[in-house]
Symmetry: C2
């Protein structure tokens, strides 16, 4: 987020390997044409239902609702758990602004937790000390699709009677593995979970998201809030004989055009995921050398998580080193980019944050670097990128 | 909103003339393909900018931002004018739930105004009596694209220092005519105005909307709120050298896929509008007979408004008469539908409403009937519908 615009424009002209390139299955246009032929364009039509059905089939998400964005799904979650001014919500500082905004819009006070030393996810051992009588929810963010320690988080939530909202924006097709070796998909743990289908994600619809409702208590109200606070969906299922305004709500549902696009992607998720993992694994294999020789931290998958190939990152030792490496790679035509800036240090939140320093979050803000990862990236290019990174560190000895 | 599901399904099989059918220009798929070819799918890309440009060119909307829905545009407005718990907002009861929800989500108390006797728009003469020291905004809704008396409303707003947010959901390409005969587009009066491009509107994108920012004071912050509370847009224009979290916000921007669809429509707005007006005018011509012979109120365009052909309605004398007429038309294969239910009498709001009875709003809830109106409707069918309606009333003498 820190280069200036002229530099950015120049770079874009030079780059041979971009950071990200949306993948298309080539069925998107055909499915959108189907929507246009049927002339049912607004939300909650056939393709929306087909997407809901596949998410259930693939991941057992019995109750899910497509949304216009992951931000919208998080906002629905905040409304569903009845966030009111004064309520406190605990989440990592190293995350996207929407994780926090969604709850702040309902009046919540945010308590930011530091990241883990071994990965950018929130440090589960630092949650409990922030809990007060006002705490209402914990929002774990599965950074890079790598699971938080869900057993630990769910235990804390149970002990204090807190809601858990998973920010699963990056977590499609990733799993938590419990101590008995059983795998459960991310997004199936929290009372509610939010996914993103923004063009930068594994499965996309341009803009787009989804709310998964695991706590049955929220099922009916979720649908009402989704439909602008009306019981329209229940009416069309024949459960009520008229419909009207029954609750708060917004227009959270995406058009059928968006849903058709997403469905084309979702059908081919296995193919998409296989390719992303091939790329990720090659990075991991080649760059493990960095950690052994130069103590450079790279993407870490703990024993309790699978990996969905969403992000491969390395963590430099200093901000200067990262800036220098970004410049070096740019000169080679490779665009690698950093990620979040600690939210507790943002212009908006700095004045609202307590005085705790969040060392790891700041370290990832300064030092984490994401490498190019998209389906059309050639493995020869991955090898090239790895070689250049190794060259860079070798040349500094 | 009151027929049961089985009846509804049966009707759908029988109907020859639906109530609404989205119109396609046939450029939608081609423009969406362009977006896919460029692989820039998320919001605020070329087609979003092209839409903003055309809205400026057509209507002089210098500052406008596409949104995922009109609901989203209204929510942006509520955030922009800093609605807080305790603030009061005045709006008609005869409107869509989102008009109210957007402000309630920020904590506002809603004061509902009755409709006019001659049209479903809010009765401008009943606004002033509701103003208190807590009143923050007036939200006029231009029902059916017919303008409220904007001189009257703007004068009241000025007198009491209130914001005006136009709910222009139905009002694209409609104008207010001042006492000197000067025409200004609806959406150009309020500090802010919200438009809808839902599939039921004149110009569509499945789901979709737009916020128009007329009060320059809100220009910069609107863009920030639109971009999830970050100054990302300013960064990409080179106005700041880094970007981050600076304010509240959400993900209000639609994908480029949605924007491309809208652009295809917007290019052909003159053709679309001409056809809708031809249909509307034929209804008006044929059904004026109803008002002269049976004192049946029909769509009314006051001297200070143009008409954008969005809705043609008639107002029956009683709920029973309307139900009977709907059934009669159904038997002839014609689907005519009612519209809003007074919000002050909804399950959600009834307990929050003061005791004022809003007679006209209730009358339109019970008696207003919208007739089929879409671009592909044949004028012979319009004649047929009119004849059937006249037959119905003649047969009751």
């Amino acid at each position: 987020m820190m280069m200036n615009l002229i530099t950015l424009k120049k770079i874009k002209q030079m780059i041979n390997i971009p950071f990200c390139k949306p993948y298309l299955t080539n069925n998107e246009i055909s499915y959108i044409s189907t929507v246009l032929d049927k002339k049912k364009l607004s939300g909650n039509g056939d393709f929306t239902k087909k997407c809901h059905h596949l998410f259930n089939e693939y991941y057992g998400f019995k109750n899910c609702l497509l949304t216009s964005s992951c931000t919208d799904a998080l906002e629905m979650a905040a409304i569903l758990i009845d966030i009111h001014p004064g309520d406190e919500v605990i989440m990592p500082s190293y995350t996207f602004v929407s994780t926090a905004n969604a709850f702040i819009l309902r009046g919540a006070k945010i308590l930011f937790v530091d990241s883990r030393k071994d990965s950018p996810g929130m440090d589960e051992d630092k949650i409990e000390e922030l809990i007060t009588s006002k705490t209402k929810a914990i929002v774990p963010v599965h950074y890079a699709g790598i699971s938080c320690d869900m057993d630990k988080i769910m235990l804390i939530a149970k002990k204090y009677g807190l809601f858990v909202i998973e920010d699963a924006a990056q977590s499609i097709d990733s799993y938590y593995i419990d101590k008995n070796g059983n795998k459960s998909p991310l997004g199936s743990f929290g009372d509610l979970a939010a996914f993103s289908f923004h063009e930068t994600k594994n499965i996309i619809s341009g803009e787009g998201g989804m709310l998964v409702i695991n706590n049955e208590e929220f099922k009916d109200r979720a649908e009402i809030i989704w439909e602008k606070g009306t019981n329209r969906s229940a009416f069309f299922r024949g459960e009520v004989n008229k419909y009207g305004w029954v609750d708060l709500g917004s227009s959270f549902l995406p058009s059928e055009i968006t849903a058709a696009f997403l469905y084309a992607q979702l059908e081919q998720i296995n193919k998409i995921q296989k390719r992303r993992l091939d790329i990720w694994n090659l990075y991991y294999e080649r760059l493990s050398y960095l950690s052994s020789k130069f103590s450079i931290q790279t993407s870490f998958v703990p024993h309790y998580s699978t990996n969905n190939g969403h992000i491969f990152y390395i963590v430099c030792n200093t901000l200067n080193e990262r800036t220098d490496l970004i410049d070096y790679l740019k000169q080679k035509g490779i665009l690698a980019v950093f990620h979040y800036l600690s939210l507790h240090k943002s212009d908006y939140f700095e004045k609202l944050h307590d005085t705790r320093s969040l060392v790891q979050s700041d370290r990832y803000s300064d030092c984490l670097l994401r490498l190019p990862l998209y389906n059309d990236l050639e493995l020869t290019d991955v090898n090239l990128i790895c070689s250049e990174i190794i060259n860079y560190f070798e040349s500094k000895i």
